[in-house]
Symmetry: C2
Subunit: 230 residues, 2 copies
């Protein structure tokens, strides 16, 4: 029974499921056949109860008193995450970041295959990266149509990200991973995930500052006190 309706899986849980799947791969390589939620949670850096709750969204998949079957869980998670079948990805913007992503082994090993690499710069067109030839961005539509790509990755400058996004969506791509520092607007039914690298560093800088100088950056003259917080 394909019970696709009953439980909706929170997005935060989905992200963790992917982490569990990777940890399981390591355990399988180590020859392990079973794992407890405690051990798996420790390796994934989460709370054991939270892990069990995450897995329970897929239905009962462990054995009480024993733990989880490594192989069984791998299969369950792979099916849930849709990693069973390989997914075709198109990447637009072959700068250094784009080149790094196209060549990232972590993608290929998880069923993500870059079938199209595009760039607007004629100097980059023709380069071969990770077994794929860079093509001019004008061919975006034909590449998407010809490869049935379902995922688009945007690593262009911010100025052109929206137009590239629009073209990807028009060509039929419904999942987009955006590295450009802009908020993309897309029609309903299209999913966008944004990775903003400089934001990550700025958050760290903020935490760093909060730790060092208790006094806030506000211009108000606060005499003293104001402990470090966090």
């Amino acid at each position: 029974m394909t019970q696709s309706r009953p439980r909706i899986v929170p997005e935060a849980t989905v992200a963790r499921l992917a982490v569990y799947l990777r940890v399981l791969a390591g355990l399988a390589d180590g020859g392990r056949s079973h794992v407890s939620s405690g051990e798996l949670a420790a390796a994934a850096g989460v709370n054991p109860a939270g892990l069990r709750k995450d897995l329970s969204y897929l239905g009962p998949c462990g054995v009480r008193g024993v733990g989880y079957s490594v192989a069984g869980l791998q299969e369950r998670l792979s099916a849930a995450l849709g990693v069973e079948r390989s997914r075709a990805c198109v990447l637009v913007g072959m700068g250094r970041l784009g080149a790094a992503l196209a060549d990232y082994a972590g993608f290929a090993s998880r069923g993500f295959e870059f079938v199209g690499l595009l760039d607007a710069d004629p100097a980059r067109v023709g380069d071969r990266v990770s077994g794929c030839t860079v093509r001019p961005v004008e061919e975006l539509e034909s590449v998407v149509a010809g490869t049935q790509a379902s995922i688009g990755v945007i690593t262009t400058p911010a100025e052109v990200a929206q137009s590239v996004c629009d073209r990807l969506v028009a060509a039929g791509v419904r999942s987009i991973l955006n590295f450009a520092p802009v908020a993309l607007s897309v029609p309903a039914g299209v999913d966008v995930r944004k990775v903003d690298l400089s934001v990550e560093l700025q958050v760290l800088a903020f935490l760093d500052q909060q730790r060092d100088g208790g006094p806030p950056p506000v211009v108000v003259p606060v005499p003293a006190g104001a402990g470090g917080a966090r």
Copy 2:
């Protein structure tokens, strides 16, 4: 009393403040002097009320009936995020991703300067990336000590990430940005942020699969049938 204590700023808010700051830079370039919360929120891709609440953590910084001064807000946010003074960063693992990050213009323009690039591979030592020479990872401690780096970026393979992390912490680094697909364990007082690229793609794959299997036509087909999994 006069001014309340430094309110604690939620981490989710901090991340958005960084986005606002970038949007403001664009507005300033465009010659704008004032913005309303609605317009700023639209550009940042968030809810206007949420934006106002975010900014309110810094104390009142707008003018009712008018909006926010672009220059004033930029200054306020820069101070709050600790972007006023430049921050020294050390990057370990000069693979393609590491090289892309070290050369990423978005970092330098926001006050993040890579003062140390390290790699374990002798073949990469000596390379010059973005005006900095790659040095052997053995010099990690001396580089951190000599440059007073406060942020460490880890782009090594997963196997060595924890040991690199331990050495960074021991050397005095208290903020770490981790791109390796492992959960790092650090002592209290050290902040770690993790960016997991393959997880992002897997979440998209999940959403993609969920979309295909559910909403489009009518209800769920086939009430009976075998082949569990899902």
